[in-house]
């Protein structure tokens, strides 16, 4: 086994260990007939091309999450909490998770991806349910919508596998949100936000969602082209 350098470990962080070893090996092989400067430049460009999309997706999602938490979801959840409407709080959590996942997934995987299209379609439904709930304060409406939407997606075969990354990530996001946001002491003033923002809990929330979403997307959307060979 070759000794793994720090630069190879950095590649492995974004590409995975096997892929990183192969990339590093290719660059080493090509550098044998070129200069060390070429190797450094090729390594930097490779690292940038592997990282820019997930990092941009993560920060774009995190910014939208913070902004919409401040302007929309936090005030709504505050009303639900006062009225002891826990199902409303839960749907607020899921909506907030979607606000992170939609830009994250759209930048990371592109608009042609089925999970991204499903995430986009889920946002107006979730926001609509929150506002219907706010206007009418009828928990049964939320329960009906909350059950109807995933059931109809599961019934539609082509979309079934796309629901999994979205559902597990939203569930994790809601759980982390509900547990970590009760931890006090991390509410900081953030430029552009009206209220104090729980920076660390929010960071861990979006980080956990990003990791789980990326893993489950790879696991369940891997064979997107399957069937093309037999079509």
């Amino acid at each position: 086994m070759p000794k793994t350098s720090i630069s190879e470990s950095l590649l492995a962080l974004f590409a995975g260990r096997d892929r990183a070893a192969a990339i590093y090996g290719d660059l080493t092989e090509m550098a044998a007939t070129r200069s060390r400067l070429w190797f450094a430049a090729a390594y930097a460009r490779t690292l940038l091309s592997l990282t820019w999309r997930p990092l941009t997706a993560f920060f774009a999602g995190a910014i939208l999450y913070a902004f919409l938490y401040d302007r929309l979801v936090f005030p709504a959840m505050f009303v639900f909490a006062l009225a002891h409407l826990h199902i409303g709080e839960l749907i607020g959590d899921v909506t907030l998770a979607l606000f992170f996942l939609v830009p994250f997934a759209a930048i990371r995987y592109g608009l042609r991806d089925r999970v991204v299209q499903l995430a986009f379609a889920s946002v107006p439904v979730a926001v609509g349910v929150v506002f219907i709930g706010l206007a009418w304060s009828i928990p049964e409406v939320w329960i009906a919508f909350g059950l109807l939407v995933p059931i109809s997606i599961v019934a539609a075969t082509p979309w079934r596998r796309s629901l999994v990354p979205l559902a597990v990530s939203c569930t994790l996001g809601a759980i982390v949100l509900e547990t970590s946001f009760h931890v006090r002491g991390f509410d900081w003033a953030v430029p552009g936000l009206r209220s104090l923002f729980p920076v660390l809990p929010a960071f861990f929330d979006v980080l956990a969602m990003a990791i789980l979403f990326s893993w489950s997307h790879r696991r369940f959307q891997r064979r997107q082209f399957a069937g093309a060979a037999h079509a």
Partner: protein, 118 residues
């Protein structure tokens, strides 16, 4: 949904290069084949992100070779096109061929074709 089966231009180039190389297709040889056949010198990072994306879509698979000294003891990862990859490539090429029908572009003067690469 049909749109999910479309391939980008660089994806098609990579798949064609892998098919041409057969069992010897890995990062270095793919880059060399693309450079030799198209006159382009794609960045290694562009190739790897494309290969990883196509692996995630099930268009290509990898198998590990033996570690070699010139690679610092690291193994080559050989690329193979799957049946899905072949079908997606054939579909994309058929679309190009259909659009090319009646346009006699390939018999244009060589100087014109060269200008496109300049």
């Amino acid at each position: 949904m049909g749109t999910e089966r479309t391939l980008g231009e660089f994806e098609q180039i990579v798949l064609l290069a892998v098919l041409r190389l057969g069992d010897g297709a890995y990062g270095v040889t793919i880059l060399e084949e693309i450079a030799a056949r198209t006159g382009r010198n794609p960045a290694p990072g562009a190739l790897y992100t494309t290969l990883h994306r196509m692996e995630d879509k099930g268009l290509v698979t990898f198998r590990d070779g033996a570690p070699t000294a010139e690679r610092g003891g690291r193994a080559k990862r050989f690329v193979q096109v799957t049946d899905e990859g072949r079908a997606a490539l054939a579909s994309a090429q058929a679309a190009y061929r259909s659009l090319m029908e009646g346009l006699d572009l390939l018999s244009e003067p060589a100087c014109f074709l060269g200008a496109a690469h300049a």
